[in-house]
Amino acid sequence: MVDKLNDDIGEEKRLQLWEMMLKLRLVEKKAYDLFLQNLIKGTSHLALGQEAIAGAFGVALKQGDYTFCTYRGHAHTLARGSSIEGVLGELMGRQCGLMKGKGGSMHLTDVDKGVMGSYAIIGAHLTIANGTALASKYNKTNEVSVCFFGDGTTNIGAFHEALNMAKIWNLPIVFVCENNLYMEYTPIHEVTAVEHPAADRAGAYDLDKIIVDGNDADEMLRTAEKAISKAREGKGPSLIEAKTYRHSGHSRADPGKYRPDEEVKDWMENKDPIKNYRAKLLDFNINEKIISEIEEKIKDQVEKATEISMASPIPEIKEIYTDVWANGGSEWHN
């Protein structure tokens, strides 16, 4: 019998990954509930079903590394260790929010944790992530920059500009395409010249073609660790295409009715990263009591953070006029 507990990942890291993914799932579900109660306004793009990708990178990255994500970035922000009340508070427009209500759901930023922003215009942040990677190279330090984006991003110019630049300058960066099969409401294959929107473009930039099951947390962790090590060792950029699926629609306004029922059912029932990982942990003979204790702990954390967020005051109106400039103000003439 294979000693499953002492393989390359091991029990400790698996439980860490389990806790991480569960946190991303439960906070996202809470965000959905708060929407339904109209306590969160605006829009929101949930990453339900895609937790293994952000979760794996969250476990694999070190303090000081930089991450960039999209408007679907609640999970990626939490995965770096940002507080739950910081995230939920921002969604609810409270003072305890990461940006005290200045940014909202689509722009979560927590520089102390290496969360260098969530970007809501497709493609831009790939070029900006090159900049933090360039800074690490320029300063001869060894941080790694990681940039998450969706399949739809592979058809915009900035994606191609960024990959080319990362390669020619051998930057310490990992580009992670979360291919959830749909570009907003449109199946990605209907609008893309190649089958694998990111991986099939890798060759054009002299990068390896990397495709991974983004819902298999162990495989995702192995892939993340390999690419991060490569970047940290000065061996240049990677482009990973992780196949996944979002459980909900594109955004708050989208019930996702354009997806076939059978397809949704298959991904929800058979390919849910969290359900499958729980089964895997049991299969690895990890004590169910430990697994359940983690579940209870996270549930408790989410509830407490929700209470803190709801009790947190709303921003003061004078905040409108702060922080345009580094002097803290917004004046444009004397």
Partner: protein, 327 residues
Amino acid sequence: MAQLTYRASVSLAIAQSMRKDQKVFFIGEDVGAAGGVFKATVGLLEEFGKERVMDAPISEQAILGAAMGAAMTGLRPIAEIMFSDFLAVCWDIVANQIAKTRYMSDGQINIPLVIRTANGGGSKFGAQHSQSLENWSMMIPGLKVVAPSCPSDVLGLMDSAVKDPDPVIFYEHKSLYAFKEEIEKTDLFIPIGEANTIHEGKDITIIGLALMAQRAKDAALILKDKHDINAKVIDLRSLVPLDLQTIKKSVIETGHVMTVEENPRLCGWGAEISSLISEHCFKNLKGPVTRVTTPHVPLPSADILEDNTIPSVELIVNEVIKKLKGE
């Protein structure tokens, strides 16, 4: 005393900043080995090497994105966009990312970067390589907008722009690259947001920027010599922040105001100045604010067409005479 061209002052200004601060690096298309298409960055690669003077591909979004990301970590990049017209292909990075990230992050992120770009007409390059686009950037909260009119201002404002903790767009005027000035001292610092009175007068206030400031000054000399009109010429030097106090003070003295702008009329920077003057100095005005601009057309290419589109010294002289003497 040494004579310095505007072109040479650009490379000198960048070099001085790079010598002073290891955090400053320079990135752009053809800026290193080629020394820039306007030869305004000659010698930088030789002095600072490839690590600090980086030749980039034709990827304006990637250039400004990389500069922004590096600035977010505390470096102080200077990025070149070869022609200001090309800002259109990376406007997302400028207007949505560089300008707004500080505010959206509640001040967690500073972006101390300088975007240098060759701006303006006079070279007969046609409508896509000649525009004056200062007004595009001045309307976006979060961007500082600088446009020097002479070599000493290039030196002093570049030093200021590089040291500024906020993003600065630095519009260099193509038709001024050959402009010469006697300079005593090259290590200058001019705070951004201080206008410069480049010709004294009490009859009218003429407000200009970059090439138009120089043309307004030339017009003022003619007005004084041949028409007995004393015009005060204010070179704004920056649109954001704007030196409203200097404008107000002058309007109170002269009561007559003219803006001279190289951009097409609609939503040009002079419209905002005019609005501010009517708000702050209405009772001091002896007549309406006059705006001299290009007409609402793309810039044509042929000599005679371009020359008659951009405000000339003669046009400024004639407009002032018409305004003051009704001729």
